[in-house]
Structure formats: structure tokens, C-alpha cells
């Protein structure tokens, strides 16, 4: 129970609802102890709820692409704008391409997938350059809290995992990719353990596991609530120890370079904020630029890092690579809705995995809290919009309670502090005691389910170009289950690195690096009379007004290439 002082931290309008949550808590805990749970939806109900309430299906949210290799495919309008855009001005003004650097393998993006690829390529004897937009490691990978799915315990198997992944993805996944994903899970888990990554373990060494949304077995492995941070810092530390990997931070890829035969032979990099381009020639290229949360699809807030602006999709699409499964974006059901300064940040699914329930303003459950993410998202929106059972925030947003204090009752005192050391400290610092205070949540834009199509060896339609991670599509189909993205970036990141290394060794240097693919794309834009002033990739979002040229320690003039908006 909250103290009255804690209660006072919430706006007055929320307090009656909070009291109802507290009143029903003991009964709900008792019901869980009896083994009762809110019934999960049938597959038909799931589909009906999704169609009616999931943002993917809302009117005007998507449109068909008018140009390019996936013409006709529906994508969020914010993404369509970028996919049908012109190159950045700095590219339009470029007169000649002078190669400044040559490497065997160029890896674009220094998140989890890119770093794993770089390690694999370097260990296969190749020289590697990681070009990344922000600092090495600034990525969605580092933000992952919940964990990584791997079928390693006795009651589980890759087959069972396969079934869960397909069901979560509504049976639209590329089955070859899923088979590799689940089968190699235990191998990458061991690899990570050998790299000195920490996992939550019992004293015997057996790994602790939990359920995630849509899992039939407990197979989510974690490192406290900072699994992604721990994984990223270990990968990065390992990469830094390999002399054949060089890293260029604050260098964003803004176009691929291709030779006369249409093979990928490098990329144009822009030094972010410095208005300078640099051409890198490589024998093969790995695209690992991550996702698109910072496009703020339908004005939703996002859980993603600063650089998640779909750059990889843009440059790959222009170079003629087909995309898939971008009709559906993943909204995480429990982004923070209050306190509003944290809007959109994630409250990891692990809280629900440990028993925290979703409640409407009457303190009642309205959905089984571990449905697949898209279903839970639809259910929350339905509860708020259709039944008006949401809790209002001061700026007239809506949210539902996530009853975190239940966890202490279910699993004993101290569980929250032990299981969520990072979040616990952070919220405590802000005067929010998660042991007694529920949080208000609402869906947040979280994951780009689809992307560039890949083959089982992480190859793409373009010779010499490999891709892995959130920028790719197929593994998760229309919807990803928690914990499968961290698995994917390792499994396919390592494949991409090995395949790229092999390609470099076998094929040697390609032809002269050029931009002929751009000409083809631009004339396609012309022919289909797509008039656009948008230039992309956008590199970073731009929040707030920037009316005057700013210089100084950190401020930089806003560039028209950037996105606009205002979010936390």
C-alpha cells in the first residue's frame, strides 16, 4: 500500500482509481495463487481486436509505395515519405567520388547486429570498418531490458520455440529463417557466456528463465533488467580487442556504393553535423542500421534510441532491394504514460512476466497480460478508446495501470529490487517506489517488424550486400515476440559477418564504386511523377524549434534533411 505522501505524488484525478487498484490487489493476488488467470483470447478474437483497434489498421496510417522494388506494398506514411525521397543535398552536390578508405568488410551500424558481424568477419581474417552514426554502441540493442529467448531447458526445444515464433508472427514468418534462429539459439547463448557476458543464474550455473508474451515455455534469459546494455558492452569490448576492426563513430552511411555490375562495393559516409562526406570502398558490406522508432509513426512516442530513423531501409530501397512485412509496426503495450517526462519509455514485459497485471481505471483486468504484444496493445487501446476505461493524464492522454507492486506479494519482498536493479534505482531517485506504486502505461512505438529481405546466410538481393538485425524482415513476420530480437541480431549478425568475409575472400575487389543505382531510382520517381522535397536518410530527429543558427559546445544548426516533432 502507498503511504499518503506517495499517493500525493499522483495528480488528484488519478487517486480514486489508484485506491481501487489497491483495494482489488489482494483478491487478484489470491486468484493468481490459486492458479487462475484472465482467459487468453481465441485466435479469431485476437484477429478481430487487432483489426479494430491496433494502430496498424487505423485509417490513413499507411499507404502503398508508388516507386521502387516493393511498389504497391503498404507501409506507414511516415516511412513512405522517406522511401520515396531524394538523396541528401550533400550527395546531390557531389561531383566525383574519391575513395578515401579501403577495407575488406564495411559494417554499417555499430549496434548489436553490426558488432557481432564485425567480430565474425574479423575472426575470419578480414579487415573490418564499423561506420556508425553516433558512438559505438549507441543503439536499440543497448536499451533492451527484458532478455533473450533461447530454448535450452529440458521442457523446451527448438521445435517448441519455432512454433511460438510462428504463432507470434501470425504464421507469416520466413520459416527457413526461423528454423535457423531457434536452432542456433543455444550456440549463441554459449558464445555470449564465453565472452564473459553475465546472465541471471542459480548457484549451479543453470540459467534463470521467465515467460514473455506469447511463449509456451519459460525461455527468456536476462542480465538483471539491463540485458541489452550488458550484451552491447561485452560485444563492444570484445570488438575493441581485435586489431583488425576499426570503428568510425559519428559517421553515418548516406548511400551505398555499387559497381557497374550492381554489386555493393562500399558506402558514402557523412560525418554527422560536419557537412563532410567520405567514400569507403569495401569488398563486401553489412547493413545493420537497426529500426525506425524515431519516425514516430502516427505520432506515437517511442522507446527507441536517438538514431533509429530508418536510414538503412532508405539507402537499401534506393539501391533496389525489396522490403517485406513493414505493414505492421510493433507497439510495445506498456510505454510510460505518466510521469509525462518519461512518455514513451519502456516498462519491460518482464514486469508482466513476473505477474504485474494490466488494470483499467476501475482496478479491473481486461486482458490476459501476456498475450502477444500486438494483441495486448490493441486491448489497451480498446479499453481506453472504445470503453473509456482509461485513466486520464494531466495533458489529457490516457493510460492503464500496470500493477507492479503485486510482484512483491507474489514473489516475496525484495523481488523488485533484485529483478529490476536498474529501473528500481532510477524510479526511486525520482520519488517513485515501484514496490508500492503502480505505473500508468500506454502503447509506444517499439520495433520495426519487417525490413530488407534476407536469405538464411544473411545475404540480400544484391551481391556483396549482407544484412542483419532490425533493418531486416522475415524472421518475425508481422509481429515479433519479446526476446527474439536479441537472439536474431546475434544469430544473423554472426551469419552476416561470416558470409561477408567469405564473399570478400572469394570475390576480391569489385569494380569502381559509383551511384548508378541512384540514377535509376530518381528516374523511377520522375516517371511515376512522384514529386518530393524530402531528402533522406534523415540521420537524426529534430525536436523543438530551431530558428537561429546555433554553434557552441553541442548545438548545431538544424538541417532541412531532418525530421521534426517534439517528444521525450
Amino acid at each position: 500500500m502507498m503511504t499518503s505522501e506517495e499517493m500525493m505524488r499522483f495528480p488528484e484525478e488519478m487517486r480514486p482509481s489508484l485506491r481501487m487498484v489497491e483495494q482489488s490487489r489482494n483478491d487478484r493476488v489470491a486468484a493468481v495463487r490459486r492458479g487462475e488467470s484472465y482467459p487468453s483470447l481465441s485466435l479469431t478474437d485476437r484477429e478481430a481486436w487487432l483489426e479494430e483497434f491496433h494502430p496498424d489498421y487505423s485509417y490513413g496510417g499507411r499507404r502503398a509505395l508508388r516507386v521502387g522494388p516493393s511498389r504497391g506494398m503498404e507501409v506507414p506514411v511516415e516511412l513512405a515519405e522517406l522511401l520515396e525521397s531524394k538523396p541528401r543535398r550533400i550527395v546531390q552536390q557531389l561531383r566525383r567520388i574519391e575513395v578515401e578508405k579501403r577495407v575488406d568488410v564495411l559494417v554499417i551500424g555499430g549496434g548489436g547486429a553490426g558488432t557481432a558481424a564485425a567480430i565474425a568477419a574479423a575472426e575470419a581474417g578480414q579487415s573490418v570498418l564499423i561506420a556508425t552514426k553516433l558512438r559505438h554502441g549507441d543503439s536499440n540493442t543497448l536499451m533492451a531490458e527484458g532478455g533473450i529467448q533461447v530454448a535450452d531447458h529440458e521442457c523446451d526445444s527448438p521445435l517448441q520455440h519455432f512454433l511460438d515464433v510462428l504463432g507470434g508472427g501470425h504464421f507469416t514468418n520466413d520459416r527457413d529463417l526461423v528454423e535457423i534462429l531457434v536452432t542456433e539459439g543455444p550456440l549463441v547463448l554459449r558464445w555470449l557466456e564465453e565472452q564473459g557476458m553475465q546472465f541471471d543464474k542459480y548457484p549451479t550455473g543453470r540459467m534463470k528463465v521467465r515467460h514473455g508474451g506469447g511463449t509456451s515455455r519459460q525461455r527468456l534469459h536476462s542480465a538483471g533488467d539491463v540485458t541489452g546494455l550488458e550484451m552491447m558492452r561485452v560485444l563492444q569490448d570484445h570488438a575493441e580487442s581485435l586489431e583488425t576492426i576499426e570503428t568510425l563513430p559519428f559517421h553515418a552511411a548516406i548511400e551505398l556504393l555499387t559497381d557497374e555490375r550492381g554489386r555493393a562495393v562500399g558506402a558514402l559516409l557523412e560525418q554527422v553535423g560536419k557537412n563532410r562526406v567520405m567514400a569507403v570502398q569495401a569488398k563486401s558490406v553489412v547493413l545493420a542500421t537497426g529500426g525506425f522508432g524515431r519516425l514516430h509513426v502516427q505520432s506515437f512516442p517511442t522507446s527507441n534510441h536517438y538514431g533509429a530513423t530508418a536510414d538503412g531501409l532508405v539507402i537499401a530501397y534506393r539501391a533496389g532491394l525489396p522490403l517485406r512485412d513493414l505493414e505492421n509496426s510493433q507497439f510495445h503495450p506498456t510505454g510510460i504514460a505518466y510521469p509525462e517526462s518519461k512518455t514513451g519509455l519502456l516498462i519491460t514485459e518482464k514486469f508482466r512476466g513476473l505477474g504485474a497485471q494490466l488494470l483499467n481505471r476501475h482496478g479491473d483486468q481486461f486482458v490476459f497480460s501476456l498475450e502477444p504484444r500486438d494483441v495486448t496493445t490493441a486491448a489497451i487501446i480498446r479499453e481506453c478508446k472504445e470503453y473509456d476505461n482509461g485513466v486520464a493524464t494531466p495533458s489529457d492522454g490516457r493510460g492503464v495501470w500496470l500493477d507492479i507492486p503485486m510482484i512483491e506479494l507474489l514473489h516475496g519482498r525484495g523481488t523488485i529490487e533484485k529483478e529490476f536493479p536498474g529501473r528500481f534505482k532510477e524510479f526511486m531517485h525520482r520519488g517513485i517506489d515501484l514496490r508500492t506504486m503502480p505505473l500508468l502505461s500506454y502503447p509506444t512505438l517499439h520495433y520495426q517488424n519487417g525490413g530488407v529481405s534476407i536469405t538464411p546466410d544473411a545475404g540480400t538481393d544484391m551481391p556483396g550486400l549482407f544484412a542483419a538485425g532490425e533493418v531486416t524482415g522475415g524472421v518475425h513476420g508481422k509481429n515479433r515476440l519479446m526476446g527474439n530480437a536479441l537472439l536474431e541480431i546475434l544469430v544473423f549478425g554472426l551469419h552476416a559477418g561470416r558470409s561477408a568475409a567469405l564473399f570478400s575472400q572469394e570475390m576480391g575487389e569489385g569494380g569502381y564504386p559509383g551511384l548508378s543505382h541512384l540514377e535509376a531510382f530518381l528516374s523511377d520517381l520522375d516517371e511515376r511523377s512522384v514529386n518530393t522535397n524530402v531528402t533522406a536518410p534523415s540521420l537524426l530527429p529534430s525536436y523543438g524549434p530551431v530558428e537561429w543558427p546555433l554553434t557552441g559546445i553541442n548545438g548545431d544548426r538544424r538541417d532541412n534533411d531532418d525530421l521534426t516533432g517534439r517528444f521525450s
Binding site: M8, F10, P11, D138, L142, A151, D152, H153, C155, D156, S157, L159, Q160, L163, G167, F171, E179, E184, P186, R190, E193, E194, Q195, G196, Q198, F199, K201, R206, M207, R210, H211, R217, Q218, D237, F250, H305, Y306, E340, S341, L345, G353, P394, K425, E426, G431, I432, L540, Y543, G544, P545, V546, L550, G552, N554, G555, D556, R557, R558, R566, S568
Partner: protein, 247 residues
């Protein structure tokens, strides 16, 4: 997390300019709203990457504080210095362990400067993550890698401690090495994982996959709906499903 009855504002100083900003903002969102577009100093925007370190003082208070811009709320009279870049000392290693060495000595030999800690407590006082930095430095010094791993576990490598250390210790990097050596050489390894790997390497699931891959979508859906769900309170390795055909 004040109730938002009225919209109040405060003044903050950044890069020599004073800005009037709403109270309920993080330093990061307040600065962006007044028109500063960050390139460095922003990463995750969620308090885990340590890109947005600042040092600040409030008004005439003598204390110098460190914080993460994306987490810290603005306060009246805050004067802010960002730390967009920090020259780090990082000792390369391959996570290897020569026979003559132990993990704790290995770490100590890479960061012998921890021995020079004067226990001033400045690092612990500053750490925005509330970590007892001086504590884990002492543990590295004493060879307690497990303790150092646990205490430094939520370190976001913001470098605030290293910036102010009079003994010039690179605390986060020593901690990073301590965690990896502890996890690799001291923490118990997962034996059940070896069994899972053996089964995969002996191709135990190939036939199962062939069977699954032959099913049409309706059959798969039926199988999916019939899945048994492992109870949440089952201790790993104890529960088994009725239907073992997928194992």
C-alpha cells in the same frame, strides 16, 4: 513528479546562455525545446547509455553534481556543462588467462592505478546511477571480482567518476574488465546448455523440423493452439509437458 496544477518555469544556463523553460522537463527535452539540436551528448534517451553526462551547479550551492541529461529534471538556477567526449584509458585484453595468473590479478595488472585510490569518495558521490564506485574500486583492489561485478552492474559508463578522480582511475573500464573476467572464469557455467547444444549438434531435431515444415497452415495453427504452457512458478528443469513429441 509534481502534480501539474500550474505550469511553472525555471531558468537554466547552458553554454553561457540563460533559458526560461517549463519545470516538468528533463534537461535534455528543455534544451531541445529552446532550439539546441544535439549530435553528441544524446544516445538512448532512456538513461542507459551514458552519452548525456553533464556536470552542474545550482545557484550559489557549492556542490558540483553529475547527472544524465535525459533523466535529470531541470531546476531553477542550474548551470550546466555537458561532457560530449571523454578521453578514456582502456586497457586492451583478449579475455585470456595465462596459466601463471588468476582472474583478479589479471584485472589488477591491467588497471594497477586502482591501488592509488585515496578513498575520497568523490566517485560514489557523483555517480548518477547511485553506484558505490569507491566500493567497487576497493573490491577490484582486493581481488573481489564478484563483488565488483555486482556493485558495478548497472554502470552506464558515463565517465563522471573518472572525470573527477584525483587518482586518475578509469573506474568504469576497470569494472568492465572485472565483470567479464568474473563471468568467464569464476561464475558457474551453464551445464544444461551443453546438453542442449549436444542435441542440436547431433541433429536430434532435424526430423522434427521436417515434420513441422510439412504441416499446412491449419495444422500448424491447431498445434499452436494446443501448446501446453509451462507454469510460471515451475523451477527450470523440473516441469515437463504431457506431450513430449516436440522434445
Amino acid at each position: 513528479m509534481d502534480s501539474l496544477e500550474t505550469v511553472k518555469t525555471v531558468d537554466i544556463i547552458y553554454d553561457d546562455v540563460s533559458y526560461c523553460v517549463p519545470v516538468d522537463r528533463t534537461v535534455l527535452s528543455a534544451l531541445e525545446e529552446v532550439g539546441i539540436h544535439f549530435i553528441r551528448s544524446v544516445g538512448c534517451r532512456g538513461g542507459v547509455c551514458g552519452a548525456c553526462t553533464i556536470l552542474y551547479r545550482v545557484g550559489s550551492d557549492y556542490t558540483l553534481k553529475a547527472a544524465l541529461m535525459c533523466q535529470e529534471m531541470v531546476q531553477d538556477g542550474m548551470s550546466i556543462l555537458p561532457l560530449p567526449f571523454f578521453p578514456q584509458r582502456k586497457q586492451p585484453h583478449r579475455l585470456d588467462l595465462p596459466e601463471s595468473e588468476t582472474p583478479d590479478y589479471r584485472v589488477l595488472n591491467h588497471y594497477p592505478e586502482v591501488n592509488g585510490c585515496i578513498m575520497c569518495g568523490e566517485c560514489t558521490r557523483l555517480c548518477p546511477m547511485g553506484i558505490d564506485v569507491m566500493g567497487y574500486v576497493g573490491m577490484v583492489k582486493r581481488g573481489d571480482l564478484r563483488g565488483a561485478s555486482e556493485e558495478s552492474f548497472t554502470c552506464v559508463q558515463c565517465q563522471a567518476c573518472a572525470l573527477r578522480c584525483p587518482a586518475q582511475i578509469s573506474q568504469p573500464n576497470a569494472a568492465m574488465m572485472a565483470r567479464r573476467y568474473h563471468a568467464r572464469y569464476q561464475a558457474p557455467q551453464a551445464e544444461h546448455l551443453s546438453k542442449a547444444i549436444e542435441r542440436i549438434e547431433s541433429k536430434a531435431f532435424d526430423a522434427g523440423f521436417r515434420r513441422l515444415r510439412r504441416l499446412d497452415e491449419d495444422e500448424l495453427r491447431a498445434l499452436y493452439q494446443r501448446r501446453e504452457r509451462e507454469p510460471t512458478d515451475a523451477h527450470p528443469g523440473t516441469w515437463l509437458p504431457e506431450d513430449r513429441s516436440m522434445l
